[in-house]
Amino acid sequence: MAASVRHLLKPWTPSLCFARWSRYNPYYLDPDPSKDTLETMKRKQVEKYHRSPAAKRLEIECNPYTIFQQALENCKPIIGLASVQKGGKSYQVPVPLTDNRRRFLAMKWLITECRDNKHRRTHMYEKLSQELLAAFANEGNVVKRKHDLHKMAEANRAYAHYRWW
């Protein structure tokens, strides 16, 4: 963030010279919030790996980056619902989603799920890591929400013709 706002805070007269450190200084390094989630996920998986017998070790995925990518894939809905008004009534019409929209929905669901439905006293990175590991195994509330959306879209198949775009 700091590097991008640098141009806003340059000294605007030749006689002006900044004396103090501030967090709008271009050399300020923002703290990285993602490394805690990755670390907790990796710890849980590596612990499972070391405690399992040799036969099961090949199946356990320990790389936090692949787990994250795969979990996000598992959370992305394929088809979404849009509200279309026809003849005074509004219908929920199944509609294809763009790639951006799918990614956005998956991440939004993960974040809201962690904020609302988890125990109050755990840290966000811990909640996120639990949810990501569950999504990697196709379980958990977010994947359930995606399945519910798919079922709704399947139930409203009849209204698919109301879509004109």
């Binding site: 490394k35 990755l38 670390e39 990796k42 590596v46 612990e47 070391h50 790389n63 936090p64």
Partner: protein, 402 residues
């Protein structure tokens, strides 16, 4: 023929490089095998040049330097329920084993302990070094050696916990101007009991201690009763700690009969806490004049007893009112501390050297801790060296996120 010669000459450097690497691995493999022959332990795995199968710190030597040895789980439970750094405890839980690297400062300390004369007053060893270089781990290694030799261990895992963030500060029952910390004292007594079970029934008190009008411990009672008294009655637990330390000091080197003789190892981490300022305050927001636990520990640090050793490590991370750049004994202990600790044997702990870094890297690879594909390449390794400057704790934090 000339062309063939030229081709061979051009090819040679690569062959010698391969040979050189092979010899390098072979030589450390030979070292491993030589050590294995000496100690007659299990067949060494030729792939794991960074591990040693020697689990007894008594037999660790220069040849093992840079290699990891496994702490037996039974020992970890008994000796270190609370003494290891928190990140290392996480690591033990994750990897399902506790492996400590054998490093020169710890080897030095163990060699001094082997050769010291225990009929004279105890020597004070101070481990000092920059933040994150492995002072606590070296202390724990030396303490493991003492435990395997059958010494009685008095281990204060972090003296800083006794001068800050104490929830209860009671005025002492025995002396008017002193202040007690019942929670910390009873916690420490419980841990002391776990570590030194077998000594508790053998040692007897030499004096009658009166706790309140109705409670007292008679002369000649086993030490276990004294400790139970402290654990059950929180109000007098700090005084019990003082009494226990006094008993141990009196009985440490004394008797030469078979039953009674034991050696005492006093290990204090963060010893600079004892002579610094406290951040605790009384209810009317003034500084307490004296704290029982700190007073008793300071008495323990003096060498007016015999038959043991005092191992300490400085620590800047938990200290109050000290700048982050201070790491030398002079700066951290302060004038008062330095004068009371003098004379001491300083042992310096520094960052990893090439071989130790290599060993650490291979260990993480073996335990599948480095998952990012770039970190497993040569360039990734160079990047890691650059980022952490071979500092053990920073390397550990970096690798956790990879």
């Amino acid at each position: 023929n000339l062309r063939n010669l030229k081709r061979i000459c051009n090819q040679e450097p690569t062959i010698t490089k391969v040979q050189f690497v092979h010899l390098h691995i072979q030589s450390s493999g030979q070292q491993l095998e030589a050590v294995a022959v000496e100690t007659a332990s299990a067949e060494p795995n030729p792939l794991s040049v960074f591990r040693t199968s020697e689990q007894d710190p008594t037999y660790h030597s220069e040849g093992h330097s840079g290699q990891y040895y496994m702490l037996p789980p039974a020992h970890i439970q008994k000796l270190f329920p609370y003494g290891l750094p928190p990140r290392f405890q996480l690591q033990i839980k994750t990897f399902n084993e506790g492996c400590v690297m054998v490093r020169p400062p710890a080897l030095e300390l163990i060699s001094y302990l082997k050769r010291a004369d225990y009929s004279k007053p105890p020597l004070r060893y101070v481990l000092y070094g920059d933040i994150g270089t492995g002072k606590t781990m070296s202390l724990c290694h030396a303490l493991h050696y003492c435990y395997t030799q059958g010494w009685l261990i008095v281990h204060i895992p972090d003296a800083h916990l006794w001068i800050k963030n104490c929830k209860e500060l009671l005025p002492s029952s025995s002396r008017p101007s002193r202040f007690d910390q019942p929670i910390q004292a009873s916690q420490w007594l419980k841990n002391f009991k776990i570590t030194n079970e077998r000594f508790l029934s053998k040692l007897k008190t030499t004096q009658r201690y009166v706790w309140t009008k109705r409670e007292s411990t008679e002369k000649g009672q086993p030490l276990g009763e004294l400790i139970d008294q402290g654990v059950n009655r929180m109000k007098s637990s700090s005084d019990v700690v003082g009494a226990v330390l006094r008993e141990l000091k009196l009985q440490a080197g004394g008797t030469t009969e078979g039953e009674g003789a034991f050696k005492l190892a006093v290990a204090v981490d963060g010893v600079n806490a004892l002579w610094g300022k406290t951040s605790l305050k009384k209810e009317d927001r003034t500084m307490p004049e004296e704290l029982t636990l700190i007073h008793n520990l300071r008495k323990m640090m003096k060498n007016n007893w015999s038959g043991g050793a005092i191992l300490t490590a400085l620590s800047q991370t938990g200290s109050v009112f000290k700048p982050r750049s201070a790491y030398l004994p002079n700066e951290l202990l302060g004038e008062e501390g330095f004068d009371s600790m003098e004379p001491f044997v300083p042992v310096s702990v520094s960052n990893y050297n090439e071989k130790e870094f290599e060993s650490c890297y291979l260990y993480y690879l073996d335990r599948s801790w480095l998952q990012h594909p770039h970190s497993r390449s040569e360039e990734g390794k160079k990047e890691l060296i650059f980022l952490c400057n071979k500092n053990p704790s920073i390397l550990e934090r970096l690798c956790a996120a990879l």
